[in-house]
């Protein structure tokens, strides 16, 4: 009997695909820990086997830790990464053995650049060059209907353009990232004999530079003073906040003049303006939109939202989330989908309302397009038990956003009363009335209209000015980026892809270049940027990265060739590496200076409570090799010292003990938890514990 091998991206997807295509006949087996599914379909035996993400990776073809390296090849991932090395080796062996019995092959990985590349590499290397004869299933949800349709109408060949773009992206990332990172680490180790993990990348470095520039702007902000007027107006016995005609007054005297003239006086209604404002429904989510909204509403980082959305996708509850589309294809059965959502009591009322409205079900779409996938939408499958709070929240957000796109425009009536008082000073009272909630009913509680009505008055009518006061204000610095706004900024600047942006941000947090949810750049981040800026300005240029992303899009569209793009990129970066080599010693010295300063910062615990002049630092005794806390003012006679734990990695916690005011340190590496410790061995808090 003919035998077909279907390659999937993850075990969760393999299970869905096997049961969609094989029904109850699909039998699960485990071969050396690799789950495989077997069934018969259309007179052939079918085996579904998952990958574990990428099983092959880019690596240099020559031996040794040198740079720059441009001769690259693809090798099994266990050759370049020790992480899960043995498991990956077994996984590839099992797939190779299954491929020996197969005469036809299908790629059923996610239909995007990474998915296509994962399947291509497995088919080419583990299945003996089966990439040339493999078919490709194209689907956007893991529902049975979609998967069966994708299998029955599969493409007769692999999506080679997308594979080419993915392959090139990985190779360029290697050429830039690995080579520059090696250059930085190597020059540091040659100059100082010390090692520190430093990294730079094609997308990472320009992004870090954007954050750096914002950090500099915040740190260099000088607030200038100005004044505003706050006021309350009594209309028909009720007080309403009023805004003064000028948003900022540049002299306190002028501001006080307004307050003196108008406080507690009588004003006259000079004019009444009213108008209607309509708010169209929002478009359905693309990944960036979902990440922004989940951050705004729940405080989820973009990478967390992406992980949760991927879990929902693997459970066939939503469509493929890594999409940049804001379009919902007409081929989707909107009515059936909404009816299915109505089976869930949470959405029954909203679904019934939409279906019984009599309006044609036409969603409002955004302008962004993605040829591979539609906007994120629910599949209509029932959201059963066994899901955590994060999954529920993200699912609820996606469903309500989807329903809202079919809603009517929301509208509100805006009324503005202009009041004149004092020496022609104008104040404005604003009222808003919801006329039609429209789509906001479906998107509740994630959007709502403010309703603040004001009584009716006539022009010429007198009103009582309540309190009028002066407020001291200062100009504000530009806001720091948060994980959501930096992702939007990366998208605007063409940095990275929808799938990689959140991961790049995580890497910068992990490396210690940035910190906090209101993102601040650390000293290490500053050091890396200042070196890149000084020696390799090309690498932090948004232009270079944007141009390369454009070329990769050209590859995907079939208008460019891989070798042409890679060769051009190598030609562009070669002079940069030549410059690095010629400046090797200077780069190294600069890095050593910065690293010395950082190490100094890492071992400085705080001000010395003994002399109040020096700093407390961690010192290693030359005689015994043991560490203790000492004062930098030792040479001037300060003999302050304290003992320290001899095991574990000690770093300053950046705060002081509430009981005694001595610095607190963090000790890591003794157990899974971080031990926070006041360095004062006679701290009252410790004495209390001892008494107990």
């Amino acid at each position: 009997m003919p035998h077909q091998l279907i390659i999937c991206e993850k075990p969760g997807a393999a299970w869905k695909i096997a049961y969609a295509l094989g029904g109850g006949r699909a039998k699960r087996r485990s071969v050396k820990g690799v789950p495989i599914y077997r069934f018969e379909r259309g007179g052939r035996e079918v085996t579904v086997v998952p990958a574990l993400g990428h099983l092959y990776a880019v690596s240099q073809q020559s031996v040794g830790w040198s740079f720059p390296v441009f001769n690259l090849g693809w090798v099994p991932i266990y050759e370049v990464s020790r992480k899960r090395g043995r498991r990956m080796r077994v996984w590839i062996e099992v797939i190779s053995r299954l491929a020996e019995d197969a005469d036809s092959f299908v790629s059923a990985c996610d239909f995007d650049t990474e998915g296509s590349l994962i399947a291509y590499m497995i088919l080419k290397h583990a299945c003996g060059g089966a990439d040339a004869k493999a078919g490709r299933m194209k689907f956007s949800t893991l529902t049975r209907t979609d998967l069966v349709a994708a299998y029955d109408n599969m493409m007769g060949r692999l999506d080679l353009e997308r594979i080419g773009a993915g392959k090139t992206r990985h190779e360029l990332d290697w050429i830039f990232g690995v080579n520059v990172s090696r250059a930085l680490m190597d020059s540091l180790s040659r100059s100082s004999g010390k090692f520190e993990v430093l990294s730079a990348g094609r997308v990472q470095s320009p992004t870090l530079y954007i954050l750096y520039r914002r950090e500099v702007a915040v740190n260099l902000h000088v607030p200038d003073p100005f004044w505003t007027i706050g006021a309350e107006v009594g209309i028909k016995g009720r007080l309403f906040p009023a805004a003064y005609e000028l948003k900022a007054i540049l002299s306190r005297g002028d501001a006080e003049g307004v307050a003196d003239r108008c406080d507690g006086r009588t004003g006259t209604v000079k004019d009444i303006k009213s108008g209607k404002k309509v708010i169209p429904p929002p478009p359905p989510f693309d990944l960036g939109g979902l990440q922004s909204e989940a951050y705004r509403l729940f405080g989820y980082t973009p990478s967390k939202t992406q992980r949760v959305a991927e879990r929902l996708y693997l459970n066939a509850l939503i469509s493929y989330p890594r999409t940049s589309s804001q379009k919902l294809p007409r081929s989707l059965d909107f009515e059936g989908l909404i009816r299915n959502l109505g089976r869930n009591p949470n959405y029954r009322e909203l679904a019934d309302e939409l279906l019984s409205s009599g309006r044609p079900l036409r969603p409002r779409e955004g302008s962004k397009m993605d040829p591979a996938h539609p906007a994120i939408h629910p599949t209509g499958n029932v959201f059963g038990g066994g899901h955590d709070r994060d999954e529920f929240r993200v699912y609820d957000l996606i469903v309500k956003r989807f329903l809202a796109t079919f809603g009517e425009w929301a509208s509100k009536k805006i009324t503005e009363i202009i009041i004149v008082c004092g020496e022609g000073d104008l104040f404005k009272v604003r009222g808003e009335n919801v006329v039609e909630a429209g789509w906001m009913r479906y998107y509740h509680p994630y959007a709502s209209l403010r309703d603040s009505s004001i009584p009716e008055v006539a022009v010429g009518e007198e009103v009582e000015m309540g309190r009028v006061w002066v407020e001291d204000r200062f100009t504000s610095p530009p806001p720091r980026f948060n994980p959501s706004s930096i992702l939007r900024c990366m998208e605007r600047n063409g940095l990275g892809t929808k799938a990689t942006r959140a991961e790049i941000l995580d890497t910068m947090y992990r490396r210690g270049y940035i910190q906090g949810l209101k993102i601040g750049v650390t000293d290490l981040g500053f050091a890396v940027v200042s070196i890149l800026k000084r020696f390799f300005p090309e690498l932090i240029s948004v232009e270079l990265t944007r141009r390369m992303e454009g070329e990769m899009e050209g590859l995907e569209a079939g208008t460019k060739r891989i070798d042409e793009v890679v060769t051009r990129a190598i030609d562009e970066v070669k002079p940069v590496f030549e410059k690095i080599i010629s400046e090797y010693d200077r780069v190294g010295e600069e890095l050593v200076k910065v690293m010395d300063l950082l190490r100094e910062g890492r071992r400085t615990l705080g001000k010395c409570p003994g002399c109040r002049e020096g700093n407390l630092v961690v010192i290693y005794s030359r005689k015994t090799g043991k560490r203790f806390v000492g004062c930098t003012n030792y040479s001037n006679g300060c003999r302050f010292s304290l003992p320290l734990p001899q095991r574990g990695r000690i770093t300053p916690a950046g705060r002081v003990c509430r009981a005694c005011g001595y610095p607190i340190v963090e000790v890591r590496g003794l157990s899974a938890r971080v031990w926070r410790l006041c360095i004062n061995d006679r701290c009252p808090s410790k004495e209390k514990r001892e008494q107990v």
Binding site: S191, L220, V222, D224, K593
Partner: protein, 89 residues
């Protein structure tokens, strides 16, 4: 002279310890320049003298970290910048 010794002899910013070719590193030098430049606006709007201005800046949470550090440094030094000498400060 060894590299380590040479590094030790290089001048450091008096505020943050970064390498510098003067009293301050280039970040704090820029902060100092801006602080002096904005004094004109403050003097016009608040009639504060130089010292009062620096005190206000040190207390202001909207002021950037480097600006506050430089203001504190200038208070400690107690000198009026040369750019402002001759003006009523």
């Amino acid at each position: 002279m060894t590299g380590a010794l040479r590094r030790r002899k290089e001048s450091r910013c008096e505020i943050c310890g970064r390498a510098s070719d003067g009293e301050l590193c280039h970040y704090h030098r820029e902060a100092s320049r801006r602080l002096i430049k904005h004094y004109g606006v403050w003097r016009e709007r608040t009639r504060l003298d130089w010292r009062g201005y620096l005190d206000e800046i040190c207390r202001n949470e909207l002021a950037g970290a480097w600006i506050r550090e430089v203001a504190g440094f200038m208070i400690k030094k107690g000198e009026v910048p040369t750019e402002l000498k001759g003006q009523s400060t």
